[in-house]
Amino acid sequence: MSQKFVSRGFTGKRERAGAQAGRVPPGQHLVSDFPVLSAGPTPRTDLARWTFTIDGLVTAPVSWTWADFQRLPAQEFVKDISCVTKWTKLDTRWRGVSVDTLFEHVELDPRAVALVASCDGGYTTNLLLSDAVNGQAFVAYEYDGKPLAPEHGGPARLVVPHLYFWKSAKWVRGLRLVNKDAPGFWESLGYHIRGDPWKEQRYTDD
């Protein structure tokens, strides 16, 4: 029914013209600012007490202090990001450590198929392992050449640019490998288990 529906008198702004065509997923529009969305207060974690841990289905858990984490091989990456609240921002520039690099420090149990990111403030999100490896996911601590601001997830956030941005968990403190892809915070509150913007997987049954 929706296919033939036309909104009387609507023409639209057509902001997706030119070189940007093909880079904006369905139902999204471009922004130039960087909106802040979060479900609760912004946590402030003392870097002296910050750690990042990989545990769960690994042979031996590993944990880094902030100083240790800074010594891991980092990379700069430039990606388009899309938030389920319908904004897309092109060419965002980050610096951080790929999940692949982090995984070089653990031995994954063959039963591990997914991971749960856990964060200061209690937020969690789930990712299939296949969405987290091969250069698809990062733990980022710089945005646009500067330390990542707290309201944008600093000191460090997950960045998984090929999925809706709620998967890019702010204030991330660890990844737990699990044998079942179970819903995290927003995924339990009506949002899609995977969240691919190109398939417009916004809500549970999309």
Binding site: G9, G12, P41, G122, G190
Partner: protein
């Protein structure tokens, strides 16, 4: 358990001007389901050639109005959807919507209280749904609303808020940040920690807080409430601003 959130074609039943830049659009929905106060709907516009634009808008009405709901929309001058909703849409038009969406920034009478609501500008909309639901459900949890607007003329739902307020139930506190009428006795500055301490104090640290507005207001308020002793899991936030249009 859940049905999929399907697009449906709603009909515009009424349009009311709230302030110079804000209108409330009443939609009749063929596939209406009861929402929870604080949730939103997605609106999708389709041009004749198939071009589409989508935005989310908070529901302003309580769930106690079967078959219809109100969306209160601020007109963003360089926006794509809100200017259409303001300038083109008339009663009788069809609008594609789906919802209700959102499961965290919600309050139901059964959620209890006391309720501390903090709004900036059109961020009052989902909080108004909570207050209307509170009234419609006969809930008597103590509630306080601190509402920041630029001027008195920018206050959305001003008369209804006055009518809903009572000394032993809902108390409403306004702050006007850009200009105050003669004899104004309310706050006249941006929301800060002393203001929040005064407004939230009588509710104690067991309050359930909902904050909606521009990022700076939300960040300031959420941090201040945590510093004032509210547990962070009792402080829920939602952002409203030009990008959300």
């Amino acid at each position: 358990m859940r049905r999929p959130l399907e697009w449906q074609i709603a009909t515009v039943k009424a349009i009311a001007q709230e302030t110079a830049q804000v209108k409330t659009i009443t939609l009749a929905l063929p596939g209406w389901t009861a929402h929870r106060a604080g949730q939103h709907y997605d609106v999708r516009l389709t041009a004749a050639d198939g071009y589409q634009a989508q935005r989310s808008y908070s529901i302003a009405s309580p769930p106690e109005r079967p078959g219809e709901l109100d969306l209160t929309v601020e007109r963003i001058p360089d926006g794509e959807v809100s200017p259409y909703l303001h300038d083109v849409l008339v009663v009788g038009d069809a609008v594609e919507v789906r919802g209700p969406v959102g499961g965290y920034f919600v309050w139901e009478a059964s959620s209890g209280g006391p309720l501390l609501l903090v709004a900036g500008g059109s961020g009052v909309v989902p909080l108004m749904a909570m207050l209307r639901h509170r009234a419609a459900a006969g809930a008597n949890v103590p509630a306080r609303l601190l509402y920041s607007s630029r001027t008195l003329e920018d206050v959305i739902y001003r008369q209804e808020l006055e009518a809903l307020a009572s000394p032993d139930g809902l108390e409403v506190f306004h702050t006007l940040t850009r200009g105050q009428p003669k004899g104004w006795t309310g706050y006249a500055r941006r929301i800060d920690q002393p203001m929040l301490a005064e407004v939230s104090g009588p509710l104690g640290t067991a309050a359930l807080a909902f904050i909606c507005g521009p990022t700076a207001l939300v960040e300031t308020t959420a941090s201040a409430l945590v510093q004032l002793g509210l547990p962070q899991e009792r402080v829920r936030t939602e952002r409203f601003g030009p990008t959300g249009t």
